[in-house]
Amino acid sequence: MTDYSLDELCAVACAEAWRGDGEILASPIGVIPSIGARLAKETFAHDLLLTDGIASLVANTLPLGGSPKAKVVEGYAPYRTIFDIVWSGRRHVMMGASQIDRFGNQNIAFIGDPRRPKAQLLGMRGAPGNTINHPTSYFIPSHSTRSFVAKVDAVSGVGYDRAAALGPHGARFHHLRRVISNKGVFDFETPDHTMRLRSVHPGVKVEDVVAATGFTLVIPDKVEETRAPTAEELRLLRDVIDPTGLGKKELGA
C-alpha cells in the first residue's frame, strides 16, 4: 500500500474522466483538473491535446506553475479557435461548479436574484456552449449541501433534464461524463440520468456523501472505492506534473 494524499487521489479520478477520449482537446479548468489532464495524457490517454492556457497547443508534459523545461508547441489555439473546437465537438472540458443539481445543471454565474444577486460569481463563461456541444465533467473541491443543491440559482451548464426537454436534436451532443468531489466520484449512468455515486474515496462513508448532498443520490447496491494512484502515477504527479505541490494547496490537504 502506497501512501498518497487526497489531492493525488482526486487528480487520478479527474484523469480517469478523459480515458478513452482519443484525439480531442482536454480543457481542464483549475489546478486539480489540470494535474489530472496532464496525468491522463502522460499515462493512458496519449492522444489528448492540451493548451498552455494562453494560445498554444503544447505537446510535452510540463509541470504546473512554470518550468525551466522548454515548451514543445504543436499548434496555435487562440480563443477563436477554441470556440470553433467547442462547437465542432472535439473537446472534453472539466469545469468547476458553485452549485450542481441531481441532473447536472451547473451554476457559475450568480447566487440569488439575477437583477441584484446576493453573490455575483464568474458569469456564464463558456458553460452553456460547452455543455450543449461536447462532453463535460466537473470538479468540485468542497462537497456540501451548499454545492450539491436541490435547485441551482441559475443554469450555466445544461443538465440532463433540460437537455432532454430540447428533444433529440438539441440534446444530441450533450453528455455529462463525471463529477469528482473531495468525497467521491459521480456519474449520470442511470435510466433517468440523475446523479449516481460511482465510487467513494477511501476513508469516506457512503452516509457522509449522502449527508453532504442536498438531493437524493442514486446509490448502487455495492459502492466501489475510488481507485488509488499507482506508484507510477505518484511518481509522475510528484516529480513531473506537480513538483511544487499546488494540488495540496488547492485542497488544503
Binding site: 487562440p78 462547437w87 454565474a109 441584484r116 456564464m124 463563461r125 452553456p128 450543449i132
Partner: protein
C-alpha cells in the same frame, strides 16, 4: 492619405451619453485602459458596455458610467472575480446581459457581417434564454429541422481597442499571443478607435511581426492614439506583462470608499 492620429480627449469627445461601446481585449489582457480611464474621468453616463470583461468593466462600474453590461464574464484573470463589477451587481446599480462567451462572439460577428442573427447551439437549455428575454430560436429550413438559438447582431456605436503597433493611417498590429475578438469589435461598430503602444511608419510594420499579425486594417479604424503603456495595468505582451501589484491595489480598493478614493486619485487623477 488620411492621418488618423488623435488624442485621448478627441476620442472621448466622440462619445455621447447612452451609447453602446465595445471594448476589445479579454479579461485583464490588452485592454485600452488609457481610453477607459479617460471615459471614467469624463461626464459621460448611461453607457452600454460590450466586453469580454476585465477591469474596463469594473472601473466604469466604480465610476458610475454604465447602465448596462453585455458580457460572457468579468474577470481579472489572476483574480478570478472582479470586485468592482461584483459590487455594482450586488448593489443592483447595473443591468447585465450575461451571455455564453461564444454567443457574444456570434453577436459581434453577425453585426460585422450585417446579418440580423447567426444560428448557434450555444445557449440552448441554459438560463441565458430566460435571463435575456429578447433571445429567440430559429428552426433550420432544411430537412433536419433543428431548433437553434438565433443570436442577434450586437451593433456597436463605438469600438475601442489597444494594439502593440499601428501606423498613422489606422493599420493595427498585435504582437502577443492572441488577437482576441478585436477585429470583430471594430467591424461591428460605427466608429472605431485604436490606441497603440507605438505608432510606426507603415513600412516598419513587418519589422517586429509577420504579415499574420496585421489583423486590424485601416478600413476598420477611424482614429489612432499613440499610447505607450496604454493597456496598463492589464497585460500587453510582448511589450509588458500585467502589473499584478497595481491590479491587486485596484481590486483591494473595492473594500471601502476610502480605499477607492485613494486608488482613484492614483490611477485616474484627482477625484472629480
Amino acid at each position: 492619405m488620411a492621418d488618423k492620429r488623435m488624442t485621448v480627449d478627441d476620442v472621448v469627445a466622440e462619445l455621447r451619453d447612452g451609447m453602446t461601446v465595445g471594448i476589445g481585449g479579454w479579461g485583464s489582457r490588452r485592454k485600452p485602459m488609457l481610453l477607459v480611464r479617460a471615459i471614467a474621468r469624463s461626464s459621460l453616463k448611461d453607457l452600454t458596455l460590450v466586453s469580454y470583461g476585465g477591469p474596463d468593466v469594473g472601473l466604469l462600474c466604480a465610476t458610475g458610467k454604465l447602465k448596462k453590461i453585455v458580457c460572457g464574464f468579468v474577470s481579472l484573470d489572476s483574480i478570478p472575480l472582479e470586485p468592482h463589477f461584483r459590487a455594482a451587481r450586488q448593489n443592483g446599480t447595473v443591468e447585465v446581459v450575461d451571455l455564453d462567451e461564444g454567443m457574444l462572439q456570434w453577436g459581434l460577428y453577425a453585426a460585422a457581417l450585417r446579418l440580423p442573427f447567426l444560428p448557434t447551439r450555444a445557449g440552448l437549455g441554459s438560463e441565458v434564454m430566460k435571463l435575456v428575454p429578447e433571445l429567440r430560436t430559429v428552426k433550420s429550413p432544411y430537412d433536419d429541422g433543428e431548433e437553434l438559438v438565433a443570436m442577434p447582431a450586437i451593433t456597436l456605436d463605438v469600438a475601442l481597442i489597444h494594439m502593440n503597433r499601428a501606423d498613422a493611417r489606422g493599420n493595427g498590429q498585435f504582437l502577443g499571443p492572441d488577437l482576441y475578438f478585436d477585429d470583430l469589435f471594430c467591424m461591428a461598430a460605427k466608429r472605431r478607435f485604436m490606441s497603440a503602444e507605438r505608432i510606426v511608419p507603415t513600412e516598419k510594420l513587418l519589422d517586429e511581426g509577420s504579415v499574420h499579425t496585421l489583423r486590424i486594417s485601416r478600413m476598420m479604424v477611424d482614429g489612432v492614439v499613440e499610447a505607450p503603456g496604454g493597456a496598463r495595468f492589464t497585460s500587453c505582451e510582448p511589450d509588458y506583462e500585467r502589473d499584478e501589484a497595481l491590479q491587486r491595489e485596484y481590486a483591494a480598493s473595492a473594500a471601502s470608499p476610502e480605499a477607492w478614493n485613494t486608488f482613484r486619485a492614483k490611477y485616474l487623477g484627482a477625484a472629480s
